[in-house]
Symmetry: C2
Subunit: 545 residues, 2 copies
């Protein structure tokens, strides 16, 4: 038996486009003599469809897609994910289902039982968990089909659930498993995923075909890396990361398990590719092509510009340099050098005169009150205004250049440098920004070394440096990582040896700046806990604040 895996990139709610892509893949697999082709979780709608699932019309269009797909299953069976309606009055209205379709007939519709409802996932918001479990008999083989999380309650590694769906179908003695997933990227996710799948294969001792999405959906990046496992507990093959592919596997060969292949890219390679796809798909799926970036001379905007130029093409990126009276000379020269290295165009707008007239207009109200953060914010907001004007006039989407450390402590101006349609590096701590910059420069100097070497500064007043008000980034980032990614509280952090006063100060900065993060662009997620949809905090509160 030959089993094809279709690792594809869908657009949420684009039923016509998704269905066309699915049908074309079916024909391709049929041409390659596959007996079965498997698509990822909720392929028909794209993942995650979020509250579109509450629209009956949306569900109907998914059902229509399944009907169209059925017409192409005369010679090949199709395993595919789609929402389906719960016919019972009790319980949620929908199931998250995997269909096994053959010769125009639905052979089995297996619902998902374990509904991830944590971090970025909201599945129990929409779906009723499966209570019944079946198996497919096809060409002499018994196939267990299930959806993503249903394989994730094997041991104690993920004790969120109380049942294990695969155990429910064991009495049928399945010959192999097809699991259709929507497993979003973070830089440790491939490792976690492999550990879980390995545990399943070692327990059930049958081949496992695992299909994942690729493609970015706003902030979530699906990395692909679909896999085939041999019963001996080895990866028979791992499909590429961040790229569509349709591939056919011979079940006999997989069962033998005589070959093995596995990708082991390092963290920065993964993050680099993920952000590239994240930018590409944000623009591509919205029908946009061009970006604009405010280039400050600092590393964050430099790195964002490189990533944008790589993803969209140098011809589609404009940099806007907006020096003030507080800007260093090198902020302009370094930026021009970067633009030259990348071959992107740039514009220079000096903001001093605009700043002066605004100060003049505010003078009757402000009187003799001293220069403070207000004036710093005015500069940032003039820049936001100018770069948004370029965005509006030419249709270039503004990319936000804020990093995760700044985003965490609120070191940024709302409607100023926090503006933008998409945050590219908002899930990278400053120390990771340095790391990725060095990675970018690994073969040749793309980012001028001076930009990497200079002391980080917002240049909003004379002789201002980030370290004036923040601890060194190595210390700050470790506290932030422990608090944000690892949910370590103040006592835990103090037990780890951090200064109690510093811990209290940093955690307070994070908590009281929730209001800023509430108003920022979606952030491409590369870590296991990004700001945004996966981290939901009260704005008004008084915990560690």
């Amino acid at each position: 038996m030959k089993i094809a895996i279709a690792q594809l990139n869908y657009i949420i709610g684009d039923f016509e486009g998704n269905t066309k892509k699915i049908i074309s893949a079916i024909h391709e697999a049929e041409f390659m003599k596959a007996d079965v082709i498997a698509f990822a979780e909720l392929s028909v709608t794209g993942y995650p469809p979020r509250d579109f699932l509450e629209f009956s019309d949306f569900i109907k269009r998914g059902e229509d897609s399944i009907e169209k797909i059925k017409e192409h299953t005369q010679n090949i069976a199709v395993v595919i994910g789609s929402p389906s309606r719960n016919p019972e009055i009790e319980g949620k209205d929908l199931y998250n289902s995997v269909y096994f379709i053959y010769k125009g007939r639905e052979v089995l519709r297996q619902h998902k039982a374990l509904l991830p409802t944590y971090d970025i996932f909201d599945e129990y918001r929409y779906f009723e968990p499966a209570k019944e479990f079946g198996i497919v008999e096809f060409k002499g083989k018994k196939i267990a089909i299930n959806v993503c999380e249903d394989l994730w309650n094997l041991g104690n590694e993920n004790p969120l659930y109380t049942i294990n769906p695969m155990d429910e179908v064991l009495p049928y003695s399945p010959d192999f498993i097809i699991n259709i997933s929507a497993s979003p990227f973070h830089y440790n996710q491939a490792k976690s995923r492999k550990a879980v799948l390995k545990a399943n294969v070692e327990r059930y001792k049958i081949p496992l075909f695992y299909v994942n999405h690729i493609g970015a959906q706003t902030e979530l990046i699906f990395d692909g890396g679909s896999m085939v496992w041999s019963p001996n507990g080895k990866i028979y093959e791992e499909m590429p990361y961040f790229r569509e592919e349709i591939k056919v596997f011979d079940l006999d060969e997989v069962e033998k398990g005589e070959k093995t292949a596995e990708q082991k890219p390092d963290k920065m390679t993964l993050i680099h590719q993920a952000l590239n796809l994240g930018i590409k798909d944000y623009f591509g799926k919205l029908g946009l092509t061009k970006a604009v970036i405010g280039l400050s001379g600092g590393l964050d905007s430099a790195l964002t510009t490189v990533l944008a130029a790589e993803a969209l093409g140098a011809e589609n990126v404009i940099a806007v340099l907006m020096p003030s009276q507080f800007s260093s000379d090198h902020s302009v020269t370094d930026s021009i050098e970067l633009a030259g290295n990348l071959g992107i165009s740039y514009e220079i707008i000096k903001i001093e005169e605009i700043y002066n007239i605004i100060e003049e207009k505010l003078k009757p109200i402000f009187g003799d009150l001293p220069f403070n953060v207000t004036e710093e914010n005015i500069q940032a907001r003039i820049r936001g205004l100018l770069v948004m004007a370029v965005s509006n006039k030419f249709g270039n989407i503004l990319l936000n250049t804020t990093n995760k450390s700044e985003m965490a402590v609120g070191y940024g101006t709302l409607y100023g440098d926090l503006a933008g349609g998409l945050s590219v590096i908002g899930d990278l701590y400053k120390t990771e920004v340095f790391e990725l910059a060095r990675y970018i420069n690994r073969e040749r100097e793309i980012i001028p070394q001076n930009i990497i070497d200079k002391k980080p500064s917002a240049e909003l007043r004379p002789n201002q440096f980030d370290t004036d008000s923040l601890p060194p980034y190595e210390v700050l980032d470790e506290i932030l990582y422990q608090y944000i990614e690892k949910r370590q509280g103040p006592k835990d952090l103090i037990n780890k040896g951090f200064d109690p006063a510093l811990v209290a100060r940093i955690l307070k900065m994070v908590n009281v700046n929730e209001f800023k993060r509430h108003q920022t662009a979606p952030i491409l997620r590369v870590s296991e806990k990004a700001f945004g949809v996966g981290r939901r905090m009260p704005i008004v509160g008084r915990y560690l604040a």
Copy 2:
């Protein structure tokens, strides 16, 4: 037996303050000879604590609060909500529990079984549902204690769940029910709540004591309206809306059911009081006092200013008038009249010179490209910048003045008129804005009639009116209401008689502007479906777009 209901306002994560308030209420009830006092759901932490629940330290502080509260239960039993840990490895880490405490001892800890996970609720993100159900025996009475949603699966009105917790304790023959809730306001919620509680009382034929929160938590406003029901299916008493109160009820009297009392305020009274509390608590709980508003001469900013002045006091509100060359004279005179009516101070900053220099600076880039939405946005963003400068300099929080109709169709400028820390009327359609303005003026002209009567205009170019690009608000708002509140798809709307081309255009405007709503302030929720945490849509997608 005497039962006290404590309808109180908590601050999320303020364990010290909340515990102090709870203990003081216990003593007050004890003084009033109550045998039992009941507090609302998760009173100890405030509701909703969101992802703070993922911090072990946060849970520990809740446990510590319960221990402190126990010390005050020698003469009175306390019924109170707090998160509690799930000792089993399997399942979610926490329960959402109601404690019955007496003489320092935990008599019963009943977990919540029905975990709302829809709209603004994410309870299954954190909590494991109860599987066991008990009852309290206290001074010769058997008391069923349960949490909020556990009473909400009686009939077919809310078929999200598959069990009904009250039925589980019926074998114990309870004498009455204490339900502790966190039921946020929308203008129809009191009605739904009463219908559900009535159905419970009619089914079980025993008294019901229902405790709700009051107080706003960022965008959510809890309206109180705690209730006591007699077994005859009548409301014995309803506690006030939007106000703290501790009240003692005599069980014998409640059982007799010889009196009945019920509040029936109309929609605009409720909305008016809700927004008042929403503003008050946003400021009060963040330790802020002062607001600034950009007053345009239009109705939205006028109404917002009235609400702010009422909630914070006229002395704490500054209006900033920022006319341009496109502004009508009445935009300034009407605004000054309003400021006079309210007794608030105002500043005028003409933006033309700032606009001109920005245009001059952009000229080398824009060349001879014609005036378009870019220049309109520049005006809006200059105003955003100026009003934020006033905000930063004086510590006045900017209130956003956008209404729900504009928010829906994306009729607003990010970082311009969409700026602000809190959106006051962002859950009111424009037709409701008119309605509330008339309500405000019901006794005397607070909002100058000319502001209500003038044709809505953004005044960003000559002779611009909202109706140039939008249908009349009566039509627009009805389509939006059906699409947003009622999740009616395009076919449903066309079946209701709306023009298919108009429906397609409006729904597309809503869907493609998700990116704007992603970056706006929290919106005080007064309807059953507000933009924000209760409505989760993809930004990148292609459904009805």
